[in-house]
């Protein structure tokens, strides 16, 4: 029946009811009433999260679920139409918020089951007044075009086809005549509009609407004067415009309230009208949100259910808002408004999807394809439950199968987004939607960095001169605003995005030049012994294992076992995108020799450096490769290797009686964690911040 949204039951479930039915008062996809959780005033729900967490999908599903049952409007604030005024319209008479109100009202006007169109006489009058402010030098054709669209907002449903628009046409002619006449332009247009509203509709509702602007500050009880002031304020810009815009928002909400008031509408309409705002972090989102919240805080009630979605957490914008994870509101919100306007909002973080959801999505996307049994597990381990990542990887698998099914190959396989669209590598398609496009190149380079210093070094080496430390900080701030987690030791905190960025860096040049340069830069950035782990990490990324084996072997007898294990883990978290040649060098051929090394298959041909304990050397080498392989998010853990890891750690624990307990603990925890797809953050990893960058790259 419906394409189900996975893992969002807390929002859309019917029985027991999720947040949406309790908020809107209607069961999704059904025309059946549901009791409100907050009958007086619903919370302004704001979905938060980074890119790709499915905010847009949730809003689209909400619109789908309620379309035809209650008035629904979905406005994506990132759309082009909200960015700039149309070519021939002066900026003085146009604002993103005004445009958004028009778009929202147009969608809300649509008839629903049981009730007809909603008219917006108040909003229409206001928008005409605002538009009239920009008609100073306009030709009548342009005025007609602008005004007709606004006038259609007041068009009630008519069962005689063709009548719709007739009223609008008549009034448009009148307004055009007034605007191009000799009198004062704005007041003429406003007068014509108001007259038409009052004349054309004799019902009490329209009479009421035509005098609504009487209460505009300083209007002195004169609706026309109120509208002229509104138009003036709008043109003045700045705070005055905000004031005018807030009044326009109020007009929209008042029209909606009017549409739901009275005996007949109450017997016709179920639930609340639903307004959905996507990308509410960009204009006109914040203005609209602020206007609604402020009105509600001031006691000007409306009956609209708002669900907005914004990137990032919105802490600055809505400081007083209640914060909840989506699963927490599955049964009730525990939300009560405070005095502050922002307290009327409910910030709702979308969590990643569960392994079960991943399995369902992969199954749904690859319905016609036989998928390898481990694929959904691998996908979940790599993406960490990112819905967009799961869907795109599943689609990539659906298009590539039967064929290579390894994650690395699926990421690089060409993926057609649309039937006839151009095919781009899957990782490019993912980054296109998971990372800010305008900073993708910089992020690609800086993904390898660990902190501000290393990032600056990388920027100096690989990025244009204009991109200095300030730009690095700006980028870091942007990432935080985008809602990407901040992880110490990682410039890009989200492991999935980081993996994709690194893959992009790796594949940027045919000979992996940038990749090599980046890592070499970082190796050079960390010359000191105290930063050996960084140096070794990047050397390992370049395929050089000897130094790492040597360092670990030499420090094993003396170092603190905990620190030693942490170093091992961090070094082995180096990315591995390509097969390495016999020397371990990056090489374009296929095949992954890490398993062979870890299982001791290459021990015989390995030359052990002189003067070292050959057994320990080989054991450390096997251990390093095992951890490297098991921490690789692109490769599924091999049970055999896990077994070997356990064995090697056990053996090592025998050599260090002092650290026996820790090593033995790791020998049990790490293989189990790896097999389960959890990060191998074994003993003592938590709350140990002074050890600097923690390695969490082993996580799935």
């Amino acid at each position: 029946m419906h394409r189900r949204l996975h893992g969002r039951g807390a929002l859309l479930d019917v029985d027991p009811a999720g947040l949406a039915p309790r908020l809107v008062g209607l069961r999704p996809h059904q025309h059946r009433a549901h009791p409100y959780e907050h009958p007086d005033e619903p919370p302004f729900v704001m979905l938060t999260g980074a890119r790709g967490l499915g905010k847009g999908a949730v809003l689209a599903e909400l619109r789908e679920a309620y379309r035809g049952h209650t008035p629904v409007a979905l406005a994506d604030c990132a759309e082009e139409q909200f960015r700039a005024p149309p070519a021939d319209r002066p900026a003085a008479s146009w604002s993103p918020l005004g445009q958004a109100l028009l778009v929202i009202a147009e969608q809300l006007a649509e008839p629903v089951t049981g009730a007809g169109r909603i008219t917006f006489p108040r909003l229409m009058s206001g928008l005409v007044a605002v538009a009239a402010g920009g008609w100073g030098d306009a030709d009548s054709e342009r005025i007609r075009r602008e005004v007709e669209r606004i006038l259609l907002l007041n068009e009630g449903g008519s069962w005689v086809r063709g009548v719709a628009g007739r009223w609008a046409g008549k009034v448009a002619a009148k307004v055009v005549a007034a605007a191009t006449g000799t009198g004062p332009l704005v007041s003429g247009a406003i007068e014509a509009t108001l007259e038409s509203v009052a004349e054309g509709f004799t019902s009490r509702r329209h009479q009421k609407a035509s005098v609504w602007y009487r209460t505009y500050p300083n209007a002195g009880g004169n609706a026309q004067r109120g509208l002229i002031l509104l138009s003036q304020h709008f043109r003045d810009g700045g705070g005055s415009r905000e004031h005018a815009e807030r009044y326009l928002v109020r007009a929209l909400l008042a029209d909606l309230t009017e549409a739901y008031a009275g005996v007949l509408p109450r017997m016709q309409r179920l639930g609340r009208p639903l307004v959905l705002l996507d990308n509410a972090q960009s204009a006109p989102g914040p203005g609209l949100v602020a206007a609604v919240l402020r009105d509600r805080a001031e006691g000007i009630a409306d009956r609209v259910a708002f669900v907005a979605a914004r990137r990032g957490e919105g802490r600055e914008e809505l400081p007083g808002a209640v914060r909840r994870e989506l699963p927490e509101v599955a049964r009730r919100c525990d939300w009560a408004p405070d005095t502050a306007p922002s307290s009327r909002a409910l910030l709702l973080a979308l969590p990643p999807l569960s392994p079960d959801d991943t399995l369902h999505i992969v199954g749904a996307v690859c319905r016609d394809t036989a998928v390898p049994p481990q694929l959904s597990h691998a996908v979940h381990r790599l993406t960490g439950g990112n819905p967009l990542g799961i869907v795109l990887l599943a689609e990539s698998a659906a298009q590539a199968l039967p064929g290579p099914a390894a994650l690395g190959e699926l990421l690089t396989a060409p993926l057609r987004a649309a039937e006839d669209g151009p095919a781009v590598p899957a990782y490019e398609a993912l980054l296109d939607r998971l990372a800010p496009a305008e900073h993708l190149d910089e992020l690609t380079v800086l993904a390898a960095a660990h902190d501000h210093g290393s990032a600056c070094a990388l920027a100096a080496a690989l990025l244009p001169d204009t991109f200095g430390p300030a730009s690095v900080r700006a980028l870091q701030t942007l990432l935080a605003e985008e809602g990407l987690p901040a992880v110490p030791g990682r410039f890009v905190g989200d492991p999935f995005v980081r993996t994709l960025l690194l893959l992009r860096l790796h594949l940027r040049d045919a000979d992996h030049g940038s990749w090599r340069t980046a890592h070499e830069t970082l190796i050079a950035h960390y010359p000191g012994e105290e930063h050996a782990r960084y140096r070794l990490h990047h050397e390992l990324a370049l395929g050089e294992t000897e130094a790492a084996v040597g360092h670990l072997r030499d420090t094993f007898p003396t170092a603190d076992p905990l620190a030693w294990l942490r170093t091992l883990r961090f070094v082995a978290s180096a990315p591995y995108f390509h097969a390495h040649d016999a020397e371990g060098r990056d090489f374009t051929g296929r095949g992954d020799r890490r398993a062979a090394v870890a299982l001791g298959g290459t021990d015989a041909e390995q030359a052990v450096p002189e003067g070292v304990d050959a057994v320990l050397h080989l054991r450390i080498r096997r251990l390093l490769h095992a951890v490297w392989l098991l921490a690789d998010p692109l490769v599924l853990p091999d049970p055999q290797v896990c077994d070997r890891l356990r064995f090697e750690l056990e053996q090592l624990s025998n050599l260090r009686p002092a650290g026996n307990a820790l090593l033995w603990r790791a020998s049990r925890d790490w293989p189990a964690a790896a097999l389960a797809g959890r990060p191998m953050d074994g003993p003592g990893s938590a709350t140990d911040a002074d050890h600097g960058p923690d390695d969490r790259s082993g996580e799935a």
């Binding site: 029946m1 419906h2 059904q30 025309h31 059946r32 009433a33 035809g68 089951t113 049981g114 009730a115 007949l264 109450r266 017997m267 016709q268 179920l270």
Partner: protein, 515 residues
């Protein structure tokens, strides 16, 4: 949107939206009501025939009390029904009492219908006279037609209707008519009198549909215009001087009240007769032909086998069987022997009977019977007491007036079967009782008071009927009522022979029944 089931549509598209829910409920209620109504209309076909008249369950007969000018589908009644309707409509509300004429109007027998028409015409003329020619006496009389069905089978409903009409604006004060002395009619009279409604039998002659038989009054408030069968038989006997050895009795078995009383009366007359009475068994509805014609052919042989002195046949039966018997006698072997067939007033039905073999009357057979009344009675046999030509002349004058407006038209009328006269006299007796019962200063009598008047109808309070004086004894039976003896003529019609008297002589001038 996916295609949804009807159930979902009703649940979500109608039920959930209050406006549509209430509208739908209203529409559904209206539909159900309409459906129920429609089904009821379809199941209950309109059984009404006219105001007050309807077809009972399981019958196509229109029975009941017609409160409007309804002719029960009989075209020959139309004129008189209209005339009655006109007269009824003329009456101001509150000024009248109602008298119902109860006769089997839906009878299919042409003979019966003739009689019914004549009786009704007489009743109407009496109404007209009471309302127009009685010096403004009150109350005025409204006449209604009450039909218990052709066989009287639906008497119960009709009696119920009549009972209901005693109260309210109808003010029913008497039921007149009744007709044949059948079992159903007896039941009807019993019920009506039990309800206190005075009943005046017009052509009832049966002994057991009368009071005073064996000293009992089973029908309190019943009065009769016609003499009982016993009286008729006594009158016949006094006329014919029948002896035991000279007569043969032919009778209906098992018979109805009329034939049985006639049979008993005849049997008493010829007590000690050497001839065994000959029974015949007609169908239940005695207006049907049945198989009795064969029986009568056999009886004809017996008639011829009697000794030469036997010249009288006493017939206790209804008119259809009488006709069959006369036709059979017409073909008897002993045509040379002269016979006189004596029977009761049923023979008057044969006056205009087309199926009667009138040739039989030319072959030494004369059919004489007691008539209820005869137009020639007082002109051809004038008497000082018991009735007068002057009383009859009033009716004749009324009848002449009724051929044109404003009294008429009342349809084709005839006097010689006596039915018109007897109908007229019955209603006159009713009017008399009603008006005598009116208390001083009032215009309407109490229902029960009307019936109490009957014992007083004697002496100077007698009714000088067109058929003769009507003096009632304490049981409501006429005392020494003139019984015209009539003979059927071969030409069709009847010939008055002379008046006979149950007491053997006319009553005294004071006309007082002996105690």
């Amino acid at each position: 949107m996916a295609r949804r089931g009807v159930g979902t549509w009703i649940r979500e598209g109608v039920w959930e939206i209050p406006l549509r829910r209430y509208t739908a409920l209203l529409v559904a209620a209206a539909l159900v009501a309409g459906l129920v109504l429609g089904v009821r209309v379809l199941l209950h076909v309109d059984r009404s025939c006219g105001p007050g008249v309807a077809r009972p369950e399981g019958s196509d007969e229109c029975v009941g009390v017609a409160t409007g000018p309804y002719d029960f589908g009989q075209s020959q009644l139309r004129d008189v029904v209209r005339a009655i309707g006109r007269e009824n409509d003329r009456l101001a509300p509150g000024s009248y009492v109602t008298v119902a004429v109860m006769l089997p109007y839906t009878s299919t027998s042409a003979t019966s219908l003739n009689d019914i028409r004549h009786q009704l015409q007489g009743a109407y003329l009496a109404q007209y006279q009471a309302n127009h020619g009685s010096n403004g006496e009150r109350p005025q009389i409204r006449l209604l037609l009450a039909n218990p069905g052709a066989t009287g089978a639906h008497w119960r409903g009709t009696a119920g209707q009549l009972t209901a009409m005693t109260a309210g604006a109808d003010r029913l004060r008497a039921v007149v008519g009744i007709g044949q002395s059948t079992y159903a009619n007896k039941q009807a009279v019993r019920e009506l009198t039990r309800q206190g409604i005075p009943v005046i039998g017009s052509s009832i002659t049966a002994d057991d549909l009368a009071n005073g038989q064996g000293g009992k009054d089973p029908y309190p408030g019943l009065a009769r215009v016609a003499p009982t069968n016993t009286d008729e038989a006594r009158a016949l006997a006094s006329f014919a001087k029948v002896g035991a050895g000279k007569a043969l009795l032919v009778y209906d078995r098992p018979g109805d009240p009329y034939t049985r009383t006639l049979q008993q009366s005849f049997a008493a007359l010829i007590k000690g007769s050497p001839y065994e009475p000959q029974p015949f068994t007609p169908p239940d509805d005695r207006s049907e032909e049945g198989t009795t014609a064969n029986t009568f052919r056999q009886i004809t042989h017996l008639v011829c086998d009697t000794s030469r002195e036997t010249d009288t046949i006493l017939f206790a039966g209804r008119h259809t069987q009488l006709r069959q018997f006369i036709n059979a006698l017409g073909g008897r072997g002993c045509q040379d022997r002269r016979f006189t067939l004596l029977t009761g007033d049923e023979a008057s039905y044969l006056t205009h009977e087309k199926e009667l073999d009138r040739g039989a009357l030319r072959h030494n057979l004369s059919v004489r019977y007691t008539s209820l009344a005869h137009p020639d009675a007082w002109t051809k046999d004038p008497r000082p007491t018991g009735g007068s030509a002057a009383d009859f002349a009033v009716l004749r004058q009324l009848l002449t007036d009724a051929t044109r407006e404003p009294t008429g038209p009342i349809g084709r009328a005839a006097l010689d079967d006596g039915q018109l006269i007897i109908g007229y006299d019955a209603v006159r007796l009713a009017v008399h009782g009603i008006r005598e019962a009116v208390p001083a200063g009032r215009t309407v009598p109490a229902l029960t008071d009307v019936g109490l008047q009957w014992p007083q109808v004697k002496g100077s309070l007698r009714v000088n009927g067109a058929s003769g004086w009507i003096c009632l004894d304490v049981h409501g039976n006429p005392y020494d009522k003139a019984v015209p003896i009539v003979e059927l003529t071969p030409e069709g019609g009847s010939r008055f022979v002379r008046i006979a008297w149950p007491e053997g002589k006319p009553p005294g001038r004071e006309c007082l029944p002996p105690s």
